[in-house]
Amino acid sequence: MDMYGHENLRADILIIGGGVAGLTAAISLKEINPELDVLIVEKQTAGYSGKACRGGGVLQYFDFDKITPEQFVEYHVHNIGCHLGDQELLLKYVSMNNHMLDKLVEWGAKLPKRADGSYAVIPTGPMTGIIGVDLDITIRLRRTAEKMGVRFLDKVTVSDLLTAGDKIAGATGYSILDGTFYTFNAKSVILATGSQNYRIGPMWGSGRGDGIAAAYRAGAEMRNPEFGNFAQLVRVRSHREVVYGENYMYNQLDEHITKNFRSGPEPDISSTAIAEWFMQMSMARGPIILKPENHGGSLESMWDRPFGSPFWKLNEEWADKVDEDWEVCPMFIGEQSPVKVDHSMQTTIPGLYAIGDASYCGSAAPGAVPAPPGRNRGSGILNAVFAGIVCAQSAAENANNNSLPPIDKTQVEDCMTRAYAPLLRESGCDAKDVIRYIQKAVGPMERSVYMSDHRIVTALRYVEKAKELAGSMKASDFHDLLACHEANAMVLSAEMQFRAAAMRTESRGWFLREDYPEMDNKNWLKWIIVKKEGDTMKFSTEAVPYDKWPIKPNV
């Protein structure tokens, strides 16, 4: 089977994914113990790939002279997480805010400061503020990691994880350039592969869930998969998102329809805005347009971010060419991040950690909301940094206390057969044929965001279609092979998303069902857990241990 060459690599700690989460973990590990042998394997180019370098470039800021972390957590539990969040973990994240910003600066990231040396913070509400970060953040972190001796392997995608007994043992993958097969043997493995976004929103297009799928196949539990349905209003020609646009929605009767779902200021877009859009369109009162009182203005004058500015400029110029008016429509984004982790970011497989966008909802910190942004702007990058720092301590200890686990040759053979299968098939369908069905399931707002039993069943029918086709995908080269693996991961993510959504017979936070519009604290203060058992996807629930935490729900 070794038709494209085979390499075996060892490391104390293997990090899969070189975005901001993976890089933070690598640097933190080296800070803890410079002797640790840390290897980052990345399917594109670490430091240049991932999402932090393509985003809005803002970080959440808390001014602890004005509020305490406990006050923010209380606000979050009532207004965003709706009692489904882990209050202890959220408190830890908030408390570390200023420390994380200082760490990013120490590691080379550029955060704008005022003349007096303080961070240039813009308040976004009574509780929060935002601060800019330039888009070379991950390139700078990569340089820092390289200086500290972290090893990098680019253009190699991890397709599966290896276990020894119930513990992690490493991973397998292949080069997307020449197909070389890799077996990685490591004491601790950190999954930092990002979220599932189903290849819909252009800028979110790199989050394809194959790391999540690898963890699932290896037997790791998933939590909150139904919260993988984020959507955002976009301008209908350029598809550029309009953050906070939900405040200025008007129908063709010139009614300010925001008033139908919102009685006062809210932190960010809500699923009720999406539902309102859908109902207005269904009543033929659309298209919906925005009448922004203030077009947002540019933060550039306040924040000096020279690296990102040509990138933002090109994006804006192209949008300005096509956007004729302020007509908007929601676009599905997704952000499923379900790998279940404990407070040290360890998954249910000992020695396997999951951080950043791979495990944001799986950590339960954000509660009843897809994250990032989790109706909490600027929390994506910082959650990744948080998880990277937090996991390093435990991953380092695990590596210090254990020797290299044995590698099971049969497992490796199986992974290799599975990985190359679409390439060796004589004929078959295209990965995009599968993805098209998945997009039909998740794309329309009434199936994935403003749900009902009937519409979830429709979505699941499309997922079934995709699943049937997925078994016959044919890859023409290694680039295409990767697309096949990503398509498989999308099938898996969509299945757990909709099946969990069918179970949750209530509405809570972002999770919105037309047929069950009320929050049901009696029956649904529970997390939905998904796990592979044999060939079945097994669903169960776990009670939220709210008794342990200070802010109690009304039951």
């Binding site: 180019t45 800028m203 090109l314």
Partner: protein, 81 residues
């Protein structure tokens, strides 16, 4: 997005082979031609028009031309199918 018709125009004459565009692409549109020491825009149909390759090229060799009309919004109403 899939099924899009974005284009990338590349001026090979001015390229100095710095490899930045190749590194910049986060979805493997750009490959590297070792012999010519130049990028190859091999999988343009998968471009997500992030403009990073264009923005990073100091020699201004790259122009990404997005075709927004080919990107689907996937909604059930005719105008956004």
């Amino acid at each position: 997005m899939i099924d899009t018709k974005h284009q990338i125009i590349f001026n090979a004459e001015d390229c100095v082979g710095c490899k930045l565009c190749y590194k910049a692409c986060f979805v493997d549109v750009i490959r590297w031609d070792e012999e010519k020491n130049q990028p190859v825009f091999k999988y343009v149909e998968d471009c997500e028009h992030c403009f990073w390759c264009e923005a990073l090229c100091k020699k201004k060799c790259i122009k990404v031309i997005p075709d927004f009309a080919s990107e689907k919004l996937l909604q059930t109403f005719d105008r956004y199918l």
